[in-house]
Amino acid sequence: MAETRKLSLNILRYNPQLEGDKPRMQAFEVDESENMTLFMVLNLIREQQDPSLQFDFVCRAGICGSCAMLIDGRPGLACRTLTKDLGTEITLAPLPAFELIADLSVNTGKWMRAMSERMEAWIHGDETERDIRQMEAPMNPDEAEEIYELERCIECGCCVAACGTAQMREDFVGAVALNKLARFRLDPRDKRSDQEFYELIGTDDGVFGCMSLLACNDFCPKELPLQTQIAFLRRKMLKAGLSRK
């Protein structure tokens, strides 16, 4: 590595729990090291400069979805963002669209639980009670792999934070929910019909609210095929809507 870069971090600070606290940007300086990630940067700042700085990391390996934040204005996972891919001026802010806990920490968990309840995002049908002493029901190997492709979502919230509709419409379900329903719709173990899925997402807060700006697709850290899934689901839901009595 050539000369060590000095990184200037601008971090949005605000703790709504603290009386009188107001949102502000705070500057920090950190010496860059080899293979440095934002996980390392933020922990260094907290350990050496400001112990009150709040952020969320769990796995620090890009698996759990805890650390999504706005990195230079774009949603992404901080743990696997290498500083060498960024300039020397780095701006960090919490994800919009979620309840702020403090600084870079947002309550995605609460949002995702509410979404799962509203979408009934679990397998529906008798198969859930199949006798577990018996052989499992066979499944087409390709089908299992296709389901996993959509199941790779880590509920990080990047798609919601990036979504134009979600910024305007608080109740918009977001790409995360639409992808989940696409996943359950694909799953032969889920016995719900398109009419039942339509009841969940056949509205402007659901699949018809999407304006096809598709930042969800661009910013998904897991590169889920959100564009295709939303388009596909919209077509199916349109058909289901038109065939309603």
């Binding site: 703790n15 729990q17 603290l18 080899e34 293979n35 907290r46 350990e47 112990p51 009150s52 700085l53 709040q54 769990v58 796995c59 620090r60 390996a61 890009g62 698996i63 759990c64 979805g65 805890s66 696997r80 290498l82 806990i101 920490s105 309550n107 995605t108 968990g109 609460k110 995702m112 639980r113 799962s116 309840e117 995002a121 679990w122 397998i123 198969e127 859930t128 009670e129 199949r130 577990i132 002493r133 018996q134 052989m135 499992e136 029901a137 066979p138 499944m139 087409n140 190997p141 299992a144 792999e145 996993y148 199941e151 790779r152 880590i154 509920e155 359950f184 799953d187 173990r189 889920d190």
Partner: protein
């Protein structure tokens, strides 16, 4: 003081806790889960490679059954496991995997016909049977006689966690997120709940419950170099220890995973080697066959990690600016395989190392990975000394892993123990024993004590830094209580940890916020982590033998004569600097598989005086029960079925085996 009442309080929202809560709820009792993070962010999600269950569907799994899984697990444990618990486990694992299939986990499936795999560095064509097509398939993992590890690409834990968490939502089980259990409420013999701290508001909330279940995972963060998530600080185990009544079992039994990427310590799955990946040294020489001609890269994790460090010590490591490492080579598996079956590994290599594992070698070195020890429970998952306190998953020492856990047996334990302990907690709630008589005044005493401790930290003028103490503790553990241990270093470790504990009484907290306050959290946690670290180091110092992952350079033999037992640590006096250690003997005369050679690892052992006698008994029974019924034979050797909850009894259906 806010009091929340529930039938069963589960601490920890990972796979074990979620599954236990679902079990309780399905039996008609209320369950409430406390979790540091949203449940789907739990460390269970990081389990990549798979879950062991003896389905025997794929051609390389043919002939597998509970007996083979049992033998592998007991050998893996270096005979430290409770064999009855292992039996309960192996009989329930196929049920667990089938339940998960019912709940939506997209297990990879057997594909009929020919497919190419890499075995021992060479391409081999396997032909899968027609009648297995579409059933759950399995890959090879270390220390197993059959290909038994069922998987979903390399996101197995993620898929399992999402399906189980979704079921918990479907069952309307409340999860109180960002809630940290701080203190167990008890009357000296009966656990009645906890005092918990809301990590957003700082509020202390009292939870009273008939049964309390600790399912908080492992404590890898007491080490500097660990694959564990940052939340794996072992606070659940620590507060159990702080009761002075519940004990922690086998804390010195710490697993080091062979393939953590270097230097970040992020795990790449054992599936890399299971699928045919090789370990290479600085000369690009494949060294494992030199040490372990039989199992090579797929010996148990303790053995592979030791051999790697041994090889590094011989000067065969690659050196880069961060230190020394070896190589993991998965190039031979091909890009298509890597992008489909090892995609998390692929992502991790790209994002954290900037390399393409289909073209480049992966720098790896062993790192702390798993704690076999934890809250000591009986086979039902309840503390033998503190009634109403249950534990399951990695947090517990239920004891199916003994001194070394096999890869793929951890996520399997989470759901299996969740199922079993969930049933037993429901039984407990159904019984008269579950009524609690704690008064709100008594609960308030515990609440006040916790509040006082936090206020003391916030108002105190201590000048020690929790960041510095944490880092020093982690260094001591990694440097002196690691893969190779000896009396001298362990004594040093205990001394240094005790000095840190004294210093930790004088920690200062600059941030005075009563609510969310990461500095405060670090301060109170490091004190608890130090207790776990001392239990680990002191247990390791006292155990003058080598067993499984616990390896003493100054006592290299496994010594069944003196050490075929389980270490139990209790911490009665909060001002003490050491735990009290007691030892619970393992009864050779009741073992289905008496102690012997593992078949890998090389080290010899000193027999227990009963081993020969028991072996003769076992051989006699095997001769007598001549009919082909393996169930009759097993029952004659070590009956266990009565130990299982009624709902989980029964044989597992299998291809080619009668019901």
């Amino acid at each position: 003081m806010k009091i929340i009442y529930t039938d069963v309080l589960v601490i920890g929202g990972g796979l074990a806790g979620l599954r236990a809560a679902i079990g309780v709820k399905r039996r008609g009792h209320d369950a409430t889960i406390l979790s540091l993070v949203p449940p789907k962010r739990s460390h269970s999600a990081a389990a990549q490679g798979g879950m062991q269950a003896s389905l025997g569907n794929s051609i390389k799994g043919q002939g597998d059954n509970e007996d083979v899984h049992f033998g592998d697990t007991v050998r893996g444990s270096d005979w430290g496991a409770d064999q009855e618990v292992v039996r309960m486990f192996v009989n329930t694992a196929p049920k667990a995997i089938r339940e998960l299939a019912n709940w939506g986990v997209p297990w990879n499936r057997v594909r009929r016909g020919d497919h190419d795999v890499i075995i021992n560095g060479k391409k081999v064509t396997l032909t899968e049977q027609d009648n297995a097509h579409g059933l759950i398939t399995a890959r090879d993992f270390g220390g197993t006689k059959k290909w038994r590890t069922c998987y979903v690409s390399d996101g197995t834990g993620h898929s399992m966690l999402y399906s189980v968490s979704d079921q918990a939502i479907a069952q309307q089980i409340p999860v109180h997120e960002r809630m940290e259990a701080m203190r167990i409420i008890h009357d000296g013999s009966r656990c009645c709940g906890v005092v918990a701290r809301n990590l957003i508001t700082g509020e202390l909330v009292t939870y009273l419950a008939k049964a309390t279940c600790i399912a908080t995972g492992g404590f890898g963060r007491i080490y500097r170099s660990t694959t564990n998530a940052v939340i794996n600080e072992g606070i659940g185990a620590a507060i159990a220890l702080e009761t002075g009544i519940a004990s922690l079992g086998n804390m010195e039994a710490i697993q080091f995973h062979p393939t953590a990427i270097f230097p970040a310590g992020i795990l790449v799955t054992e599936g890399c080697r299971g699928d045919g990946g090789l370990l290479l040294d600085a000369d690009l020489h494949r060294f494992m066959p030199d040490y372990e001609p039989e199992k090579m890269e797929l010996a148990s994790r303790d053995v592979v990690s030791r051999r790697m460090e041994e090889h590094i010590a011989k000067g065969k490591a690659v050196t880069n600016r961060f230190g020394r490492h070896l190589w993991l080579d998965i190039r031979l598996l091909g890009r298509a395989h890597i992008e489909k079956n090892l995609r998390e590994v692929n992502e991790i290599c790209h994002y954290f190392l900037g390399i393409d594992p289909a073209e480049d070698l992966i720098p790896v070195r062993p790192a702390q990975h798993y704690s076999m020890g934890g809250v000591r429970t009986d086979y039902r998952g309840e503390s033998p000394t503190l009634q109403g306190l249950f534990s399951c998953g990695e947090a517990a020492c239920w004891d199916m892993h003994g001194f070394n856990r096999l890869g793929g047996n951890s996520v399997a334990e989470t759901v299996v123990a969740g199922m079993i302990v969930g049933e037993f907690m429901a039984d407990f709630c159904d019984s008269g024993d579950s009524e609690i008589s704690v008064s709100t005044a008594q609960a308030k005493e515990f609440w006040e004590r916790e509040r006082a401790q936090i206020e003391a930290l916030l108002d105190g003028d201590g000048d020690e830094s929790s960041v510095a103490i944490l880092a020093e503790m982690q260094n001591v553990m990694t440097d002196k209580v690691g893969i190779f241990r000896n009396g001298e270093n362990l004594q040093l470790a205990v001394d240094e940890l005790q000095a840190l504990m004294l210093r930790s009484r004088n920690i200062g907290v600059a941030t005075k916020a009563r609510g969310a306050n990461p500095e405060l959290v670090a301060a109170y946690r490091v004190k608890r982590m130090l207790k776990l670290a001392i239990c680990t180091a002191y247990g390791a110092l006292q155990r003058t033998e080598s067993r499984g992952a616990h390896f003493r350079e100054d006592h290299t033999q496994r010594n069944d004569q003196e050490w075929l037992n389980r270490t139990l640590a209790t911490w009665e006096d909060d001002n003490a600097l050491l735990p009290t250690l007691n030892y619970e003997p393992l009864d050779v005369m009741r073992m289905e598989l008496p102690p012997g050679d593992r078949g890998y690892g090389g080290a010899d052992h000193i027999d227990h005086p009963d081993t020969q006698r028991r072996q003769a008994e076992v051989d006699g029974i095997r001769d007598k029960v001549t009919e082909a019924d393996r169930f009759a034979l097993q029952d004659a050797l070590m009956p266990y079925e009565e130990l299982l909850p009624v709902a989980l009894r029964g044989r597992n259906e299998r291809l080619g085996e009668n019901k």
